[in-house]
Amino acid sequence: MKFQAIIDEQILNFDVEQTACGLDISFNDNNLDADCRPLTSNSFSLILNGKSHYLTITENDNSFEVTVDQHTNLVKVKDETELLLDKFGFSDSDEDHAGEIHAQIPGLVTQIYAEIGSSIEKGQKLFILEAMKMENEISSPVSGVVKNILVEIGLPVEKNDLIMEIEI
């Protein structure tokens, strides 16, 4: 079964067969000496070419947040069906939502640095969210133009509330 892993803007191609002794994994058509076993729901032990790695994995929307030896990466996995859909142009694009800025934690918006219509550079600060006794500066993940601001200064927001929309 073919899988594509998208990590750090790289595309890695794997071929995985489920055998009696676990998974038989090829990477770039080379067979890997890899043995990956679940420890608990979110932790795995991977022995890859003799090296032992401790992985913790949580699902995050359509990606996996994978921590290997304490380095965290987002990994997207596409299986054969999804790869086929991609091929025929049916892939669901993430881009539609890329400019949506949500609150990662509940808090209080105490400052807004942008207005509707203003141009925003990636990394430019957008607003301050006060939570856990701290002021948290939220910067824009993308460059674009502010399309919508859905909160007001002084109002509390819940986790995942949509705060701004930026047109890329």
Partner: protein, 501 residues
């Protein structure tokens, strides 16, 4: 004789205090907000009572309700921990007047040392150096120049009317002073409609160093040595160690003596911490005194092999300190890493969520002061400190290596923590060489991020295999539907993770 202590706090410090109490046969009473019903301090205490809704102002700061719980539970002493009501003189007084023992200094000492000006005056009395500078704003150019000359260069000019760096100037020599003051006044005038300025000594590459003092009411005042607390971000300490790799024995002696003098002068009783700034020329300046147990007290315990909470209870009970100054000989080296629910590689953005799994490091020379458990929901209501990991070693090298080993074994799933950041910071040459001050974190932040990005191909392949395995397991347990609409990208996914790449 104290028999039952109410701990007016939560989190790791409440657990810390409970442990020492139980070891000396004292029962404990926990208070908890509605958000903390199943937090570790509630589970470990002998008794537990709800103190109100989640916000601190309605729970851990709710004096009336706390007094009520003291009555109901029959507690005969109160330990305030740090933060919350620990430096509230009025609370201390009320407790004492109820005939309940306050495990902390007398309210007079709290009041004096809590007032910046009063503390400065007291320090002057015992000839403790304070940072030279004006205490009143000035607008006269002549006077400003005179003061700057008197303080000695470099000096710092600050606008009286506002902050944010506007109107702030470092002046290296007398030649630059007139021009600098004029520009600062003009900038401040424009920005805040107020051209008055403060002038104070500018400290070069300052270190934040503090002394753990202890006093009983039999006239004994001792110092347990210093803690180097210069790894900071926005004045929030992140890594502490003792002894400080920066100071020498002469300076150490000076710091200890000054701290003891200040402690004695304010008629202190109990555990306290005298904070200093030390510049690169090894000049020390008194900063303030914290009239309570400090977050980072465990490193002092490790090198002195003493339980400071037990000493607090002894002293509050009217007994003498169990140890005298000439018996205090710190041994080895200790380091503490604060575990915050924050992403150290994304501007320390706070993280909330459920702790799904934990794998905690153990073994020789490792101590964890923990305030969390598997299955716990980390809420946004309180300080993000989850606990503290402490390592001890015979040498600084061993303590560092042990800390790195332990941090590498530490896995928390469900929330972001400062564990990976602390590990990289300790591995950095600046920390390894003991060559850091209060500004080092800011200076090497980008470099750490850069190192993080240097991903080996092996790790990418490893991460991919893990994701594929997890994907297969998920598919097996719930038949997946690829046409299902998936909700994507809040700033957790798009913003934060971009930074990690």
């Amino acid at each position: 004789m104290i028999r039952k202590i109410l701990i007016a706090n939560r989190g790791e410090i409440a657990v810390r205090v409970i442990r020492s109490c139980h070891e000396i046969g004292i029962e404990t009473v926990a208070i908890y907000s509605e958000a903390d019903r199943t937090s570790p301090h509630v589970l470990k205490a002998t008794e537990a009572y709800c103190v109100g809704p989640a916000p601190s102002s309605e729970s851990y700061l709710n004096v009336e309700k706390i007094l009520e719980i003291i009555q109901i539970s029959g507690a005969d002493a109160v330990h305030p921990g740090y933060g919350f009501l620990s430096e509230n003189a009025k609370f201390a007084d009320t407790i004492a007047k109820m005939g309940v023992v306050w495990i902390g200094p007398p309210s007079d000492a709290i009041i004096t040392m809590g007032d910046k000006m009063a503390a400065r005056e007291l320090a002057k009395k015992v000839n403790a150096p304070i940072i030279p500078g004006t205490t009143e704003p000035i607008s006269s150019l002549d006077k400003a120049i005179k003061i700057a000359d008197k303080i000695g260069y470099p000096v710092l000019i600050k606008a009286a009317g506002g902050g944010g760096g506007k109107g702030m100037r470092i002046v290296q020599s007398a030649q630059e002073i007139e021009d600098a003051i004029n520009r600062a006044k003009s900038e401040a005038g424009k920005a805040f409609s107020d051209d008055r300025i403060y002038i104070e000594k500018y400290l070069e590459e300052p270190h934040h160093i503090e002394i753990q003092v202890f006093a009983d009411n039999h006239g004994n005042v001792v110092s347990f040595g210093e803690r180097e607390c210069s790894v900071q971000r926005r004045y929030q300490k992140i890594i502490e160690e003792t002894p400080s790799p920066f100071i020498d024995d002469k300076l150490r002696k000076q710091l200890n003596e000054t701290a003891i003098n200040i402690t004695r002068e304010c008629n202190y009783i109990g555990a306290g911490t005298v904070e200093f700034l030390v510049d690169k020329h090894k000049n020390l300046y008194f900063l303030e005194m914290n009239t309570r147990l400090q977050v980072e007290h465990p490193i002092t315990e490790m090198v002195n092999q003493i339980d400071l909470v037990k000493e607090q209870i002894r002293v509050a009970d009217g007994k003498q300190l169990s140890i005298s100054q000439n018996e205090i000989h710190p041994k080895g080296h200790a380091i503490e890493c604060r575990l915050y629910a924050e992403d150290g590689f994304n501007n320390f953005a706070p993280s909330v969520g459920n702790i799904l799994e934990m794998d905690i490091p153990q073994g020789l020379g490792i101590r964890l002061d923990d305030g969390i458990r598997t299955g716990q929901e980390i809420s946004p209501y309180y300080d993000p400190l989850l606990g503290k990991l402490i390592s001890w070693g015979n040498t600084r090298k061993e303590a560092m290596a042990r800390m790195i080993r332990a941090l590498s074994e530490f896995h928390i799933v469900g929330i972001e923590t400062t564990i990976p950041f602390c590990k990289m910071f300790i591995q950095h040459p600046r920390f390894q060489n003991g060559d850091y001050g209060t500004k080092t974190l800011e200076e090497i932040k980008e470099e750490l991020l850069e190192t993080l990005r240097e991903y080996s191909d092996d790790l990418n392949v490893a991460a991919s295999i893990g994701a594929i395995q997890k994907n297969l397991l998920t598919d097996q347990s719930s038949a997946s539907n690829f046409t299902e609409t998936k909700q994507i990208s809040n700033w957790a996914t798009s913003g934060r993770k971009d930074n990690l790449r």
